[in-house]
Subunit: 168 residues, 2 copies
DNA sequence: ATAAACTTTCAATATTATTTGAAAGTTTAA
DNA sequence: TTAAACTTTCAAATAATATTGAAAGTTTAT
């Protein structure tokens, strides 16, 4: 495979993966493009390379900044803004985990705690099944949460080193 | 909060969480409904409770069976099919992880391996950046893959026990 | 073999998510 | 202060995804 073809495949695959995991396809593609670009790119560059509109490019870039995955760069004597991606995969993984935890896991945990409070007749099978499911999922969610929190604090080597020690 | 309200909230939240993670909202809702139902339900029950059409219910139930999250139950002397959910959260988490690994991670790893093969001029910054990104992501993907594979084999207690040992 | 009971299919439709592009807004240099 | 260079916004258009429901298919009991 040639480099040029490889780049396209990479961008396409990153986009598909993103959309399968609830991240806007274009956002993932812009991120992929910046990941494999040695230099920071302008909005124009991105619009052109990915054939997307100015509005779309602008919003997507803002979102990516919001996720902490890319940054703006200003160049002396130039009005244009340049964008570049954080390239360390461990940092990327952490940023994504952090954002999704905040946006999705935290609210669910909050609701589960409320649902766990519901009182009812222990002899009612409807109540018992509900209660058991909620409690079990609550337990799982809390474990996931705890694991994520620790991961967010962890250093890459420390983390993978420890994981590998268990999963020998 | 009352039980009835709690049930609705639970179904709604599960549906939302599903849709944020690339799983069809209705599919997640049907799953939620079966999770908190003490008895197996018929297609009719599900259609009625969630106000969805017969076709939708049928397709969704088939998908859930495909994911290994629910099963059919046949009752002696009855033509109707009943459905019930696997209720152990660890098993649910494993099934979902397994399916998504197979459908999404495995193809990406295959592509990354191909991209890692691409030869080029080591002095070309375009090539170097591409290569580095692909290699780094490849490494991350392989680690995730390895972790998932071990998790899929693991017993619940063993797994969480070990995780907690590191994340003390 | 028939018909009732039930399940599956899929083209049409509805819903939701994404993208566009032109207008409005902002910043900077002269 | 002006106007060019650039960025942001958002209503409308488009595209992607999910749902419906009626018809076709299947199974079982008689």
């Amino acid at each position: 495979m040639e480099l040029a073809e490889g780049k396209l495949k990479f961008i396409e695959a990153w986009g598909k993966l993103g959309s399968e995991w609830g991240i806007n396809r274009t956002m993932a593609q812009v991120h992929a493009l910046l990941l494999i670009s040695p230099d920071a790119l302008t909005t124009e560059d991105i619009m052109e390379t990915l054939s997307i509109s100015r509005g779309n490019a602008n919003m997507t870039l803002r979102d990516l900044i919001g996720w902490g995955l890319i940054e703006k760069q200003h160049r002396a004597g130039e009005r244009k803004e340049y964008f570049f991606a954080e390239k360390d995969t461990w940092t990327i993984a952490r940023q994504v985990a952090q954002e999704r935890k905040k946006r999705e896991l935290d609210p669910v945990i909050k609701l589960l705690n409320e649902l766990a409070e519901i009182k009812g007749d222990e002899k009612d099978p409807e109540y018992k099944t509900f209660k058991t499911s909620v409690n079990d999922i609550n337990k799982l969610a809390k474990n996931v949460n705890k694991t994520l929190e620790t991961m967010l604090k962890a250093e890459e080597n420390w983390f993978w080193g420890s994981i590998f020690k268990i999963f020998k």
